[in-house]
Amino acid sequence: MRAEQRSGSLMAAPYTVFLAVFALYPILFALVLVFLRWDLVTTPAFAGFDNMRLLANDGRFWRAVMNTFVFLSIHLPLQIASALALALALNRPLAFRSFWRAAFFLPVVISGAVVAILWSNLYATDVGLINGLLVRIGLNPVPWLTDPNTAMPAIAAMVTWKNVGFYVIIYLAGLQYIPRSCKEAIEIEGATTWQRFRYLTLPLLLPQTILVVTLSTINGFQLFIEPYVMTGGGPLRRTYSIVLYLYTNAFAYQKMGYAATIGVALALIIGTVVFIQRRVIGKAEVL
């Protein structure tokens, strides 16, 4: 079909060009940049393995990596538990079901920048809403974003809040696939509500849980706007994220080569972590 070949190639050509320029070239050039020192103004200089060596010894970078793991250690379990709980609550004939669902999903559609600004104000030590409520109940206000120990957890809680609706939808979809006869069979077999959850629901939701973990992890490694707006990376660099560091190196320090190196390192870290996660969770099939 010569005509088909021609039309097809013609129609697919713009995208092919796009991919070459905006996908292929950047990946390749990123790998090249790793070996350069460049400030965008003067000519790039060959830097050999300097960038990589610097990165390996860069305390700030590894602090950022550490921060991300702190973030994930709070965010992941919180995310899974809350999304699962809400999905289970919604998975039944309910009045106003679409209203609840819409309410939970609302923060997902709102810009991350807005959410960050909003929660900056909610977490504000003196005039924030949260501390205001705490004081009302008689508790002491907490310096959420200025205490190095609470800052990252506070951000983790906020990100959980923002994204939970998204994962509720994912879990709801998974719950639909559990056959009714299985649920009834296990009831007749003698399962309590908890046993039904543990032996039937949770194992059958494994694919969804893997998805939640993977997406949340990737999201966690890509954290930028939240620390940028809320804490600027502090206090004591405890909320400094990898992408924030990358951005600073590019925008403020004008160190393109180093920033690119951070980017490549990040991609590798994400790939490795996700790979390990899928292996580990995949094995935990039968509890």
Binding site: P179, S181, C182, E184, A185, I186, E187, I188, E189, G190, A191, T192, Q195, Y199, L200, P203, L204, L206, E285, V286
Partner: protein, 363 residues
């Protein structure tokens, strides 16, 4: 002592009554079949017995205990579902043993029972496979094994053979029947297939619109159906019905309709015969067909006169579809010589086996 006891059980969904005043005793060790069309309430009754549906009114007792308000897990029943309900993420062995593991039965006992059920149902080679690796029939047997392993008071079957092809269905029917006879567990079995009901049931309950039409042994339902619904439901091919009148002509009691003239046996007709329209019921297998030599024969004959519409040769038996007056009827005969389409035929009835229905009730 009856093993399962339904007393005035009624089920309503909002304004609709799905099961109306259901009363039944299921004897210990019996295989009782609930049969009916969709909407007859049979599945609802089974699910109420299982505890999966709430009882709107009435009581259910299992082995003298009132279980009406108990959750399924406390009723000591086991159920086989239409789509088997096997746990897809567990092996066959785990499927079989889960119920016992949940109740913290000793491991040696679990192993013993699983081995026993696997042996009875020929599941040994399949024990480490997952349900999706099994055929329909194999999954069916695992579902039964799962029920057996619990050694419950009652087995419940919800149309377990509906998802199997015809050949497998016949085979599994025999297996289920044999199994139940060996285990002697009280069983309540729901199906829409009356052949299944007739071959499996010790007793059958025919349901329509949430009400019991008749309860009895298969042969009783066949020989003496209590109303037109049961008469038409039980038996393949289904009974023929002809609407007509009873007259006292010719010095005897006669049923007359267009193309039909049947002298009825006086002993079998009740003393007080209602005048007016009645319906004659006669099974295809209780009819004999002669090929008429000529149609121009107006003298009253005893039986039906008709014209053949279709002849189906099924081997030993043949089905002759014919028109007698406004009625399309079917005779099942074992004649060697069969009439052609368009032939005129005389059909004789076995008067011993004829039924009369007035307003849907048998008289």
């Amino acid at each position: 002592m009856p093993s399962v006891h339904f007393e005035h059980v009624t089920k309503r969904f909002g304004a609709t009554t799905v099961v109306e005043d259901f009363n039944l005793d299921v004897d210990e060790g019996e295989l009782l079949v609930l049969v009916g069309g969709s909407g007859s309430g049979k599945t609802t009754i089974l699910r109420m017995l299982a505890g999966l549906e709430e009882v709107t009114e009435g009581t259910i007792r299992i082995d003298q205990h009132d279980v009406t308000n108990l959750p399924p897990r406390d009723r000591d029943v086991a159920m086989v579902f239409q789509d088997y309900g096997l746990y897809p993420h567990m092996t066959v062995r785990e499927n079989l043993s889960l119920g016992l593991r949940l109740r913290k039965v000793a491991r040696t006992e679990i192993e013993r029972r699983v081995a026993w059920a696997a042996d009875m149902l020929r599941l040994e080679p399949l024990l480490d496979r997952k349900p999706k690796q099994l055929s329909g029939g194999q999954q069916q047997r695992v579902a039964m094994g799962r029920a057996m392993v619990r050694e419950p008071l009652v087995f419940l079957f919800d149309e377990p053979l509906s998802n199997l092809d015809a050949g497998l269905r016949a085979q599994m029917r025999i297996e289920i029947g044999g199994l139940q006879r060996r285990l002697k567990t009280t069983t309540v079995y729901v199906t829409h297939d009356q052949v299944e009901a007739m071959t499996l049931g010790d007793r059958i309950v025919v349901l329509a619109d949430g009400r019991i039409q008749q309860v009895g042994k298969p042969i009783d339902l066949y020989r003496t159906p209590v109303n037109r619904f049961v008469a038409g439901f039980v038996g393949t091919p289904p009974m023929n019905f002809v609407d007509g009148l009873i007259t006292g002509d010719d010095g005897g009691v006669v049923f007359k309709a267009e193309g039909v003239h049947c002298a009825l046996i006086p002993e079998r007709t009740p003393q007080t015969m209602p005048s007016g329209p009645v319906t004659l019921g006669i099974r295809p297998e209780d009819m004999e067909v002669d090929v008429a030599d000529t149609l121009i024969d107006t003298s009253p004959r005893d039986g039906l006169q008709g014209r053949v519409v279709l002849v189906e040769r099924l081997g030993g038996t043949s089905h002759i579809h014919f028109d007698a007056g406004p009625n399309r009827l079917l005779a099942a005969v074992t004649n060697e010589r069969l009439p052609e389409v368009g032939d005129a035929i005389n059909v004789r009835l076995n008067r011993e086996r004829a039924h009369l229905f007035v307003e849907d009730r048998r008289v």
